[in-house]
Symmetry: C2
Subunit: 242 residues, 2 copies
Amino acid sequence: MNRSNQDKFVIIVAGGKGLRMGGDMPKQFMLLADRPVLLHTIEAFHRYDSALNIVLVLPEGQKVYWQNLCTDFGFAVPHKIATGGETRFHSVRNALALIEKLLAAKTCPSDNALIGVHDGVRPLVDRHTIAACYEQAELARAAYPVLPITDSLRKISQNGKRAQTVDRTKYVRVQTPQVFRADILFAAYRQPYDPLFTDDVSVVEAAGTCTPVMIEGNPRNIKITTPIDFEMAKMLINIGIK
Amino acid sequence: MNRSNQDKFVIIVAGGKGLRMGGDMPKQFMLLADRPVLLHTIEAFHRYDSALNIVLVLPEGQKVYWQNLCTDFGFAVPHKIATGGETRFHSVRNALALIEKLLAAKTCPSDNALIGVHDGVRPLVDRHTIAACYEQAELARAAYPVLPITDSLRKISQNGKRAQTVDRTKYVRVQTPQVFRADILFAAYRQPYDPLFTDDVSVVEAAGTCTPVMIEGNPRNIKITTPIDFEMAKMLINIGIK
């Protein structure tokens, strides 16, 4: 199949209200090297492929703030906005509804499109990881980056009092972007919400239609959740350790 | 039982040759805020309790370097040296042999002593974590610090090609110090070596003599394994985020 005209999308999920950071500023808007975190994130995908269709998911109450931010920073990377939902699952589902409309308008078959989903608060994602996820998703229908577990890992017993050692080499921790062929992702998100859906791979696997493949992630691609994460992101962006 | 005269030990394991950092310098000797990592680590325990008996485990080939380092930095915290072994298990076992001799010389019963084991490359351990581990070990015979898993976690299938989502709230990642009543730890380390012994709690649990209790760890208490960890430690020590 000739995929040279293939439509590629990325959904950047920035639904978080940033409560864990303390204070009022959602973490996706905090300044990293003088620019809001979300600008770095969107630019990383735009640098990978300027033809990539970018859909940003924001809570309703942050849309005006975002528009003003784009103006203030002269941010001109084209993107669409979808509205955040109650959970990450609902946010992604809203973005997928928007993408389905865009594809229908283009009369582009959804099995000829790829959709990535990425955490808005992972601004340091590198071009190699993005490229590898889209390339592998084209081959295998679904691909996502993982890293080994470096700490000792223990599984807690049912009563929560005890724990037992597990073999950490049997586990991986998961990053984003997670990239899927569009028809696979649309079908998976027609399932009812389950609290065990912590990321998109878990949603797709629950649908049982394909087996996403793992690719090697990058330790730089951190998720900014706590103040320590934010300081680490500032450090990484300054010194450029690979 | 009156434990006011209780003997307390800590084994600081610095057996690593630092290969993962690249270069020749073992990471325990790298300079953090102008002092070698190991000096920070030892000082953290000395600040907690100046009567604590400190046993440092070093590879044979690093002992002279260490003595020179202590001289150069005017480092005067009293400590004994044990010799590193082939794995962490063998290093700790060597340190325990030294402690058994020290206790025998004092005619101190080993059930009235507590022994902590701590990674030499965790220089940012805080006083509260150290105190909590020793206090809980006195009550429960064994205690260790843990943190929740924040990334999505997946378990890899037997062939290594697939993975399935697991509930990350059922898992914890493990830090040090891990503190034990001496008799428990001596008995556990009489077991033959098993590659699944990734830390001291796993050794003690395999012996089946007690159930170590978990206490809440501290995200600052990072283990310096990679160049990124080292930069993060520098950042944490500079800005003092709790």
